[in-house]
Amino acid sequence: MTTRQPPEQTLSDWLGDTPGQPRAEPLTSALDRLYATGPSTAEIQSARSRIQAALREARSALLYYEAVGPTGVGPVFVAVSDRGVVAVEFAASEAEFVHSLQARMGASPVRSNPMAGEASRQLREYLAGSRTSFSLPLDLRRMSDFQRTVLLAAAEIPRGQVTTYGQLARRIGRPGAARAVGQALGHNPIPIILPCHRVLASNGTLGGYTARDGVRTKARLLRLEGAQLLAG
C-alpha cells in the first residue's frame, strides 16, 4: 500500500508554497517538460541587441525639458535631446512651451531635471550675469546646412561685441545673402546660447528679434553682455 497525497498538497509542494521537496505528479511533470526549454543564449543575445537598437532610436526621438525660471528677460525654457540642447524659448508658460515643441519637432517632451537641469542651470547663471559662456553640447541636426552655418558664425562673435547681418553674410562667404542670414537668425531655435542677438541691422539699429518683447529683449541681452549700443 502506498500512501498518496491529495492533489492540492502536491501542487503546493510543487509551487514551493510549502516546505519540502516537490513531489512529482503527472500534471506537474508534464508542465515541467513543456516549460523546460527557453530561448538559447544566442537568441537572448540577438534579442538584446535588437532591444538596444530600438532603445537608441527611441532615445534619439525623445526630448527632455526644464524651466530656466523667471529671468531678467522673463520665463525661459530649455529642451535637450540625447545629443544636446535643441531649443531655448521665451515661452509664457510650460504648457505653451510644450505645445510649441510638439508643433515644431513632432516630439512629446518630458520634463526631466536629470536630463535638462544642467542646460537650465547654465542659462539661469548666464541670464543672472554670473556666467559668461556656455559649456553645453548642442544638437543642430534639425537645422538646414545654411542655418547651421549662419548660427555657428554668430556663435563666434565674442560676448560684448556685435556685428551686422551684412558682415555676417560676408563672413560666411555669401555677401549678397544678408536677408537670408536675417531669416536664418530669426528662426534660431537656440537663442541666447547661439547669440543671434549680437547681430544688428547695418544702419546701427537693433534690427529684429523673434522673441517675447522683440528688440527690447535683444537690448536687455546685449546690455547684460556689456555691449555698447548706439540705439535701444
Binding site: R4, P7, T10, L11, W14, L15, G16, E25, P26, L27, A30, L31, R33, L34, Y35, A36, T37, G38, P39, E43, I44, A47, R48, R50, I51, Q52, A54, L55, A58, R59, Y64, V110, S112
Partner: protein
C-alpha cells in the same frame, strides 16, 4: 535594466507564447514601453515586478489580437524525453505534451501568466500581485485556478493516472 532582466523576461514571454517570434516582438515592445513609462514612474521599488507587469500587459494585448498560432510540433518535439524511450512511449509523450500545450493555451492569459511567474520565473506572490495589479490573495487564486482548470481539462489526477 536591459542587461539584467531581458534574458529572464524573454524566457517568460517565450513560455507565455510557446515559441519565439511573438515572444521576441513582445520583449522588444516591453522594453520600449518601460523606457517611455520610466520618466513618469517616480517610485520604482521593484523594477523586476514592474517589468513583469509591462511584459504581462504587452503579452495579453498581443494574445487578444489573436496573432498567435498553436505551438508547433517541432517545438514540442524538442521537449520530449531522451531518444532512448521506446516508440510507443514517444508517441504517448508527444500526444500528452501536445494536449498539455493546448490546455495551457486555453487558459485565461492572466491565469497562465500567474502560473508561469510563480513556478517558472520564481516570483513570490507579492511580486506577482504587483505584476498583475491585484492583491496577493488574488495572485494566489489565479495560480490555483490555472492548475485546477488544467487538471480538469487533462483529467490528469493521480487517481486516473494510476488506474489507466
Amino acid at each position: 535594466m536591459v542587461d539584467r532582466y531581458s534574458g529572464e523576461i524573454f524566457g517568460y514571454l517565450w513560455r507565455f507564447f510557446q515559441g519565439r517570434p511573438e515572444a521576441e516582438d513582445c520583449l522588444q515592445e516591453t522594453f520600449l514601453r518601460a523606457f517611455r513609462a520610466y520618466p513618469r514612474t517616480p517610485d520604482l521599488r521593484n523594477p523586476r515586478a514592474w517589468l513583469y507587469r509591462i511584459a504581462t500587459n504587452t503579452a495579453r494585448s498581443h494574445w487578444a489580437r489573436g496573432t498567435r498560432q498553436l505551438a508547433r510540433t517541432a517545438d514540442l518535439d524538442a521537449r520530449l524525453p531522451s531518444p532512448a524511450s521506446s516508440v510507443p512511449d514517444l508517441v504517448d509523450h508527444r500526444q500528452r505534451l501536445r494536449a498539455v500545450a493546448a490546455a495551457v493555451e486555453a487558459l485565461p492569459p492572466r491565469q497562465r501568466a500567474a502560473l508561469l511567474m510563480r513556478k517558472y520565473q520564481e516570483l513570490d506572490y507579492a511580486a506577482i500581485a504587483d505584476a498583475l495589479e491585484c492583491t496577493e490573495a488574488a495572485a494566489r487564486a489565479n495560480v490555483y485556478q490555472a492548475l485546477k482548470k488544467l487538471r480538469l481539462q487533462l483529467a490528469l489526477t493521480p487517481e486516473t493516472e494510476q488506474t489507466s
